[in-house]
Structures are given as structure tokens and as C-alpha cells.
């Protein structure tokens, strides 16, 4: 069970936040934090609880990506 049900997934809004920080400030800090969150998704790391939060309710309706971007 534990091996099939991750505590953490890469949420699109979290990815965009980290990419945005790189674009605006040329900082990779959020990228590195996110990479650390994603390293052990099957462990309940309370320190990263914030990364489990869903986005605002209409976020995914507005979110668009394209293949290979």
C-alpha cells in the first residue's frame, strides 16, 4: 500500500511557482526544494506538508501546457 500511494505528487502550481522564481529572480532555490520533496514521495515528510496542498479551486481549469514544453 505504502509503495503505491505517494504522500507527494508534483502539483502543477508548485512546479510553476518554482519555474516562475527562476524566470524572475534567476533563483533555483524553489526548484531544489521541490526536487527534494519529490525524491521520497512515499515518505510522509511533515516538513513539506505545504506541498500537499491542492491549488485554488479554479487553477487547473486555467492551467495549460503543451507537449514538449
Amino acid at each position: 500500500m505504502k509503495d503505491s500511494n505517494p504522500y507527494f505528487i508534483l502539483r502543477n502550481y508548485k512546479a510553476e511557482e518554482a519555474i516562475e522564481e527562476y524566470r524572475e529572480k534567476k533563483s533555483l532555490e524553489k526548484i531544489y526544494t521541490l526536487l527534494d520533496v519529490l525524491k521520497n514521495p512515499y515518505e510522509n515528510n511533515l516538513q513539506y506538508k505545504y506541498y500537499q496542498q491542492p491549488p485554488e479551486s479554479d487553477y487547473d481549469k486555467r492551467y495549460k501546457t503543451f507537449c514538449n514544453t
Binding site: P6, I9, L10, I19, I31, P41, N68, T69
Partner: protein, 143 residues
């Protein structure tokens, strides 16, 4: 030599690929490097690794691969449109992995665009690759 290449693809008929020397990059900057992946692939982390990872320095002739397939319901001639195969890395375990550059400029198989890739988009791909790796789902990894 940071790579241990044995390029079997380049031994195929030349209609299946085009040799490409990517345009040189002035002052290339390394944003992020997957050290674990380097180790797994037995790629040496030399001081000038950035030069190799952007093809300013080469250890073999890079090639853009030609291929074809069904896309959007039609049979279409395709090919690496903004990528080149730097070489086929042979690991200590004798496994083979293609090392490919993405966003290295146009090739004869490009359709529109300049063949480059924006850093933000590449960071997004890196993040999603890392997510799949963490979830233990097999996927091409990004260095």
C-alpha cells in the same frame, strides 16, 4: 574523456540520420546537474563538463535521427527537430543509454521555430522527470 561512447546508430544507413555540429554557445552556464544520474551512467564529472553538455566540446559526431510514424492520424516523416544524439553511452554494467541534447538548434528535420529550448520549459521537464523517478516510474531521465 567524459563519455564512453559506442555509437551503433551511426553504423546504420546514412538515410536514417544527419550529422550535425551544433552552433557553439558562448559562456554556457550550468543550471542543474543530476549527479546521481552521472554516476549511474558512468559519466565523468570533469571541470569542463558544461562544455561537453552543450556540445562546445565533442567526443563523437552528433547526429539528428530520422524517423517516421503516425502522428495526428497521418503517416509522417519525422526526425529530431531540435535535438541531437551526442552518443550512446556504455556503462560499467554494459548497459546502453543515448545521451541527447535538446534545444541544440535546427536540423534538416526541423519544421518551424529556431530549434532552441527555453530554460523554464526545460526546468519543467526536469521537475516532471524527477517526479516520475521518485514515484519509481520508468522514464527518460534528464541530466
Amino acid at each position: 574523456m567524459i563519455f564512453n561512447f559506442d555509437n551503433t546508430y551511426a553504423e546504420l544507413s546514412s538515410i536514417l540520420y544527419t550529422e550535425i555540429i551544433p552552433e557553439k554557445i558562448q559562456n554556457p552556464q550550468l543550471l542543474i546537474l543530476n549527479n546521481e544520474l552521472l554516476k549511474e551512467l558512468n559519466i565523468e564529472k570533469s571541470d569542463d563538463i558544461t562544455e561537453y553538455l552543450c556540445a562546445n566540446k565533442l567526443t563523437a559526431n552528433p547526429i539528428a535521427m530520422a524517423y517516421a510514424g503516425h502522428q495526428f492520424g497521418h503517416f509522417t516523416m519525422l526526425g529530431d527537430g531540435r535535438a541531437v544524439l551526442l552518443g550512446e553511452q556504455v556503462t560499467a554494467k554494459n548497459e546502453r543509454f543515448d545521451i541527447q541534447l535538446k534545444g541544440s538548434g535546427i536540423t534538416p528535420y526541423s519544421r518551424g521555430g529556431d530549434g532552441k529550448a527555453a530554460a523554464g520549459s526545460m526546468l519543467r521537464e526536469y521537475l516532471y522527470s524527477a517526479a516520475l523517478e521518485g514515484l519509481k516510474i520508468n522514464y527518460p531521465l534528464q541530466a
